[in-house]
Structure formats: C-alpha cells, structure tokens
Symmetry: C2
Subunit: 339 residues, 2 copies
C-alpha cells in the first residue's frame, strides 16, 4: 500500500480519494500511508471555518475556495459539519452553488462521515488534513458547525480560524460569547445584506472590547511550551507586530461581496503567524498532541493484549454490583506488576 | 475528605456544593469522594435535554423540574450548555423564571464551567451526576446545547434523551436529521404557540418515518455487549413491549402547556427501559466506558512517570524535523521493554 501514498505524491486523484478512505477508517494501509506522507507535510495553510447552522457558512467556504483558486492556490475542503451541503445534507440551492467548484482539478472536496467516528472525529480530521497537505494542496478549508467541544478540538488544528455569524441570530451570539469567540482569529458577518447587520456588528465589537486579552498557552505533558497574549480589542490604531487584533468582516457569500477583503485578511493572518513565530509553535503543539494520542492508544492496545477478556468481565461485574468504583477497579487491576 | 462524602450522604447541601467543586476540578479529594459515593449510585433517572439555542430548552428544563417536584421527586439540574441561563449567560427573563426553583430544598442547580474542562467535559459531567445520584436526587436533568460530539457523549450518560425543537428553525432540522435524531428518545416541539408548529411537526414526523430502525450497539473492548433495535416509525398502533416508538410532544414552556403529557412520557420511557432490560444494559455500557477511561489515564500517568522529560523533548524535536511521524515516534519509544 506504500505505492498508494507514492501515487498521492505524484498528484493521482484516485489514489488520493482511496487513501483518504483508508485514513478515515484508520486501516493499517491508512496508517502506513500517513507514515510515508508525513515527511511531506507542513506546507499547507489550514483554515477552520466554524459557525452555527443558518449563517451561510458552507456558501462562504465555497466562495473562499473560488477566491483562492483565482490566486492559483490548490484548495482542499474538509466538511465536518453534519448539516453542511458538502456532507450531503444539502438543499438544492447549495448543491447548485457547489457546481462552481466541480470539475476543477485544483479543488478536492471531502466530507467526514462524522457518525461513524465517534470520539475520534478530531483525530480523523487531522489525519485527512495531513494527506491533503502532503498531496500539495496549498489551502485546506476545514468546515465545522462550531458548537461542541469536538469543533473546538478541530479548530485547534487550524492555523487560522474564521467564526461566521449572520444578522438576526441573537441567541447564537450568546453561545459565541461563551466559548467560540476565544478560537476566532477572524470574525465574519455573512448575509451582510440582511437587516440587522449593524446591531450584529455592534454586539460582536462590544464583546471583543469586553474580552480580556486571551492567553493562549501551548502545553505538553503539563509543561508550558509558550504563552501568547492576544489582544482582543478591535482598535483603530496600528497593531503591534506580535499582536493580532481580531477583525470583523462583512460578506455576502451568495454574490461574493466582501470576499476579496476577507481573503486578504486570511493571508495577513498567515503572515502574522509566520512573523511572530506562532506558526511553528502551533505546529509543535499539534504534533505533540498527536504524539500523546498515539502513546495513549499503544499503551491501551498493549493492556488489552495482556489482560484476558474474562478478567475484564469479572471486574465489570464487580463494578456493576457496586463492589468497586470504576477508578478503584482500574487501580486494582493495574497494580499487578506485569501489566 | 471522606467525611465530606459522608456529609453528602446525610443530605448536607453545603457539603454537596463543596464536593461537586472538588469533583469538577478532579482533585484527589474529589476522586476519593467519588470512590466513597459510588456504592450509593444507580438509583437516579438521568434525563438529557438537548437542542439548539433559541428552542427555549432552559425554560423547558425549568418546567420539567417544577413538574417533577409536584411528583415529590428530588431534582438536580446540571447545565452544560454555555448559552444556558443556568450557566450564567442569562438574559433577565430567564433569571426571573429561575426564581420558581430557588429556595426549594428539593432542587439543586449546578452549571459546568465548560471552558476549563476541555476534552473532559463528558467525564466531568458523569462524575457530577454520580454525586447527585448518591446524594439521593431522584431525577437528574442534564442540559446540553446538542450539536457537537461532546453533547452526544453526554447524552450517552442519560437514560432518557429529549431533543428540543422550535417552530421556524428550519436549518436546525437539517442538523437534527444528521445526527441528533439518533440520540432522541423523545422529541419536543417547544414554543408550540408560535406559527409554523404544524410544519415543524410534519418535518420531524417524516424524518422519523424515513429513518431506519436504529441499532444501538453497546460495545466494550470491541465486543458487542448487546444490540437493541429501536423502531423509529411514529405509528398509531400500539408498540411492542421491547420497542420504543419515539414520540413527538408539543409544549409551551413559558406557561407550562404540555408539560404534564411530556413528564408522563418521560416516566413511560423509564418504565420501558426497566422492562426491556435496557436500563441495566445502558448502565453497564456506561460503567465499562468509565472503567476504560481510568485504565487509559493510569497507563499514561505511569508512562509519564517513567520516561524522562528530556527524552520526550528529543522525540518531539525529531517529529518536527519530519524524521519520524508521530505514530512512528510513539512506536519507537514504546518498543523499549521497560516502558
């Protein structure tokens, strides 16, 4: 199966599609392919696009792809949002819009079968992004629904995270306030031709003004790798070189308004990350987290291979009888020297 | 700190609040308390309430609590939704409604500080639910925002999961279709006095009709513990004793309309779970998952204690230079016999 990975490196789209399936299903062939491809990763700009249903996020992703194509960038789209038209939950209008991209060899769209990969969604997304990165895609757009923890985990993959809002979704602003704002590098008010755009922008601005500067702490094994203070104030003055001031952009994805400015801002963010050293810091934190996960999985696999199934069943029985708590039972079982 | 757990068992509210904080922060005292309390768990009915922002889910949780209080049940509310008024993101109207519950010793409301417990939200929720269960609360309402994977994980905790919709939130129905529908034991159309309730109900019904019967597979270590086929068709005929037909209820949480019927349905679902044997099956699957998690955490802690930090740093360095993939590096490090 190594040849599949090598075919991906030569630009074979069919091999790419096949390897993505292997990787998503976490097969031995997929794992081997990732090992081969890993040396070729680290070039792509990973852009997360997150927002509530109804914000027109998928159309915006579509327009971003078209804009990056005009800049001669090869673009991959990974749709993790179960309500995204890219994942098949489309209404007709969205399907029509997707036609703009189909047939372009510089674009590859892949949706995640999120239902099957419970718990491992962020991991599967990370692996698929690595394949696209090695395959030479310059820009990888990762679309998520942006509400749960797994979306935040997926956003951590990205170099640049766009949080999409729309006028008239008052309740969602509450949700953004509570968590999503912290992951936003760029805020987008899509459907900016709708009524209420001013009040949405005012609400977002006042939230940015209220927010304390965010300390992004990159940790590994409890050790801080680095602390980056990000100023969240939307100020008119020129930002310092080591500070990124979260901008707010208005777009109308259905006609492309505001897209040029947004793409410029996305590229400015990439430049900021490289200049400030945050690009490599984010990469290091991401690779460390991935390494941790493999350590963990290997340890668990080993444990399962060493402990007989009947022993586990006995222990579960005693837990269900409330003789031991799950934590006590785990401690008792692992206190044997040879496990 | 064992005495804190014992005070919880005697009904001391201050001890309960203190232990919940210890448990949420995963302190040694919290872990010890959970071990002591575990023998007293397994009595409460765990009810998940999930839905998009704007569905009036928090008001519904409030009304459910009031209804269960009328039935002389002790009620705990665990609010995991960052936009919930119970978590402090309240508008004034919601705060006023909460007054109905304050001052009632049979009710305890606790919100999760979801920002701090990245990745461990489901685990922290499970632990807090165990404390309420041991403390003698008959009904534990777990409120989540219902979009991401962590919400699905939290829903798995519950015996009965309510998915809340509201008229006029068309896009959200798409999201429900894709994933949330599968976790619903009961569908609720709240704000049923608003326009569009009929079309929302029609949409939900046709989704239920289209849905294949869901096979719920309870797994442990890759072994199926049990497979439960649930019929999703909303049919007028009497369901078989071993089938639960997902009902759709209309409510108006602001005036309590439909609450009596909904509470009756929730209690019917509990009876169904006990009769069909699914109650203990769900419990076994939940305890097995918790046990797995502790095994995993203990193995990782041990690994960290045995491998010098400098060795890890070297390995991360070589990963960042693309000399090894994260998976290869983990394999190399763990191939040493003594780790």
């Amino acid at each position: 199966m190594t040849s599949l990975a090598h075919s991906v490196l030569t630009g074979n789209r069919l091999a790419l599609a096949r390897l993505l399936t292997q990787v998503e299903n976490d097969t031995p062939a997929g794992r081997e392919g990732l090992n081969v491809l890993f040396a070729h990763t680290g070039q792509a700009h990973l852009i997360g696009v997150t927002g509530a249903p109804g914000t027109g996020k998928s159309s915006l992703v579509n327009q971003l792809a078209i804009s990056f194509r005009k800049l001669e960038k090869r673009v991959a789209i990974v749709a993790v949002d179960p309500s995204s038209p890219f994942t098949g939950g489309a209404v007709l209008g969205d399907r029509v819009r997707m036609r703009d991209l189909s047939g372009d060899a510089g674009v590859f769209i892949r949706s995640m079968a999120s239902r099957g990969s419970l718990g491992g969604l962020a991991q599967a997304t990370a692996a698929m992004v690595q394949v696209f990165d090695a395959a030479g895609f310059d820009v990888i757009l990762i679309e998520t629904v942006g509400a749960g923890q797994s979306e935040v985990d997926i956003a951590r993959l990205a170099h640049t995270t766009l949080v999409v809002e729309a006028p008239g979704l008052g309740d969602d602003i509450q949700a953004i306030k509570a968590g999503i704002l912290e992951i936003a590098d760029i805020l987008v008010i899509n459907k900016a031709d709708h009524a209420g755009v001013e009040s949405t922008e005012r609400a977002l601005k006042s939230m940015l003004d209220l927010a304390h500067p965010v300390e992004k702490v990159f940790q590994h094994h409890g050790q801080s790798l680095a602390v980056v203070r990000e100023e969240r104030t939307h100020s008119a003055s020129e930002p310092a070189a080591n500070l990124w001031v979260t901008p707010i952009w208005r777009t109308v994805a259905t006609d492309g308004s505001g897209l040029a400015e947004l793409v410029g801002s996305v590229q400015a963010h990439a430049a900021f990350l490289r200049q400030s050293g945050e690009w490599s810091m984010r990469e290091r934190a991401r690779l460390a987290a991935e390494f941790d996960l493999f350590i963990q999985q290997t340890l668990v696999d080993r444990f399962r291979a060493r402990v007989p199934e009947e022993r586990i069943d006995q222990v579960l029985e005693s837990i269900q009888k409330r003789e031991f708590s799950p934590r006590e039972a785990a401690n008792v079982l692992l206190s044997r020297e040879d496990i």
